[in-house]
Point group: C4
């Protein structure tokens, strides 16, 4: 059995979650699963419909974005994944979708404000929207630069990728990550949900205010703090 | 057969309705079913996906929130359920979701105005939004205090829990209840529907006005009054 | 075989379309099918979930609203259906739902403006919203008066029920009708679709204008005029 | 086997995609597949529900709109398809729907602005909205003139039908096309998605601006340029 079998299987399963969760149509999205010991990740092949995927079709790529194993061309966003894995050693999976509400926020170039506990259960901050790159970076090695666009935004905001596992790439769409590919996809769905609720909250009350700090802290810590009491 | 079998089955069935009614994603919600004679309720285990649930996995908890039977940790919202059962002896089920529209209203800190007969079929008042607790209560026994946040809001408004079976916990999400766990979930779906329609009605007509009193009374009483003629 | 078998079957089939078309949740809607020769109609029993319906459970009622055959209580809206059948001899079916967008327009007390050809394919006018009855009528024989509220609105606007097969009962919800129960349900779904599009069109362009008369006439007549060329 | 078998099968398969992609209800849409060598196309029969279609029911029509083979009447929009095939020799399929968001934009008489990379992956321009015809054209050979309304709009804007494969017919609904009938339907779904996101982006940020040129060019070219690297 191939040493890549586990990440191929993980990437396949996580990719197949995207259409089930209504996060993609056609081929608009890709998930990868990394093995940091081997220095590689498995990623969806480019432009292949979800119902034609199989674990064997996942492409194995190293952290420089070079194909190591597999017969298909990897996702066109592969270099963005590679940059993130290179700089974030605890990320085991990355998910990229064009889900409706999160993408609309990305297009609007606004952060998603933290309006409720659903958001605070996952993050303590507004979901950042990384502003578009300058023209030179776009015209250059675009997908590689998108990785740095994400890393730079996190750094400028002072965010730790262990705590903030989702971002909007301005004018484009969301990227999310996590310890596993499954967790990355989970974060894609959470982001879509809180993006929709945030727009609705503003429509219901244009004077809607951010969640108070004590509630942000309480909800985040009951799920993620040292004394967390959520889950088994 | 365990004396808890009935409430375990009721809680299980009601929890399984939540994803079918599109009221939750992942593990964002929990339903309980109470046996007031035994002084206990059955509730969803914390953080367990709906498709992994079974009646046997429902956790039996007393009205102080102490686990009486079951191998899993109960929902993190268990104490809120416990407080409500303690103070409302006719409630047989409680449902908590983060359904999209009801949660957006909760985030906006606004009551859901009674704009139509769909609302009046179930309530004669705007669905109340309990304003967020003070910081001390949040930092203390949060889920326990959430129960009192709900009870206090009903009391301040002069609402009877037999007649108003739904509330928005401000900045958080809805709680609903009823004589059975099934009725509590029914109320969650009704609230989601009227919350969506209320936003749409305001968007269609920003000068939209509350339903007139005679229609509120007529619709509520034909379903719930002494001479009700709805149903079998 | 009962002489009511045909309308029971037609009413059953048409009622079952409502949840499939996402026009109702729980028991929020009812469809009837009439036999004008027998002077009766078959209608959904009150408060019975759609998945428990069968043709035999449809209740046979005469045009005064009196139950003629069947063991269950008919829909609470039965008298509204009876009034419409009494005064509109060419109506073979009536559908009542609380579908999301049409109901929101009814709550807003606005007519649905004719903004596009989807609307003109079915109607040449704004879908009328009958303003709420006065208190005396509401407190009296409410469902009976609702029938006249609909008929009076059509008359005041100068609309022929053969051509305008849908209306919003203000503050309440839509009623639609047609030559058959199936056509009535079709009209419920069409109304829901054009109600949603009309709101969206106003959101996209607040200066959105009504469809020009020549397009209204063209689209309506190619489907319904003497030289219609739509369909087989 | 008939020489029309291939286009009948292609048209059938593409029509059946419309309800699966939630782009139509009832019979509100039609797709055709052309054989330019034979000078004919296969199109959906008029007013026939999707679940009653079969390849054999597709109607074969020549580029003048005359029925060549088939027992049913072709779609009422057949002449629009015929005009487009006559003037655009590289189009192999055409799709027409009344999908919710694209139709709402058509009703609003606005182009869909290019706000994000999802749009730029398919087009480099705002999706054009062809303004309604004058009354004389509407009253004349309407569907034939609709074809010219589309062609004229493309010409006025300086758009090449190879690159801009989607348009809104003002007050009416979208038409899309492509090398195959399947591609035409794909474009219908893409248009619906970007139409929804564009409205949402404007709601999230009323000062939302068009995508910058460098991003438009980058995204379009990585999928469609001479050095494209998307897909297999």
């Amino acid at each position: 059995m191939s040493k890549y079998q586990d990440i191929r299987e993980a990437a396949y399963q996580a990719n197949m979650e995207l259409p089930k969760l209504n996060l993609v149509i056609f081929t608009f999205g890709n998930v990868s699963a990394a093995d940091h010991d081997l220095g590689v990740f498995a990623i969806k092949p480019s432009g292949v419909p979800y119902d034609e995927l199989s674990p064997a079709k996942m492409v194995i790529v190293d952290f420089d974005g070079k194909v190591i194993d597999g017969e298909l061309r990897p996702s066109s966003d592969t270099k963005t994944h590679a940059v993130l894995y290179t700089h974030c050693k605890d990320i085991g999976g990355i998910s990229h979708t064009h889900s409706t509400y999160a993408t609309a926020w990305a297009q609007s170039l606004r952060d998603v404000p933290i309006y409720g506990t659903t958001h605070a259960d996952h993050n303590t901050v507004d979901v950042p929207c990384a502003q578009p790159m300058n023209n030179k970076m776009i015209q250059g090695d675009y997908e590689y630069q998108t990785g740095f666009q994400i890393l730079n935004c996190l750094q400028e905001r002072g965010f730790d990728y262990h705590e903030v596992e989702m971002i909007l790439v301005g004018s484009h769409a969301p990227f999310t990550w996590g310890k596993t590919a499954g967790k990355a996809v989970y974060n894609s769905a959470v982001l879509e949900s809180i993006a929709q609720m945030a727009l609705l909250a503003e429509q219901i009350n244009p004077q809607c205010v951010r969640l108070k700090e004590s509630l942000i802290k309480k909800h985040y810590e009951r799920k993620h703090g040292p004394d967390s009491y959520y889950g088994q």
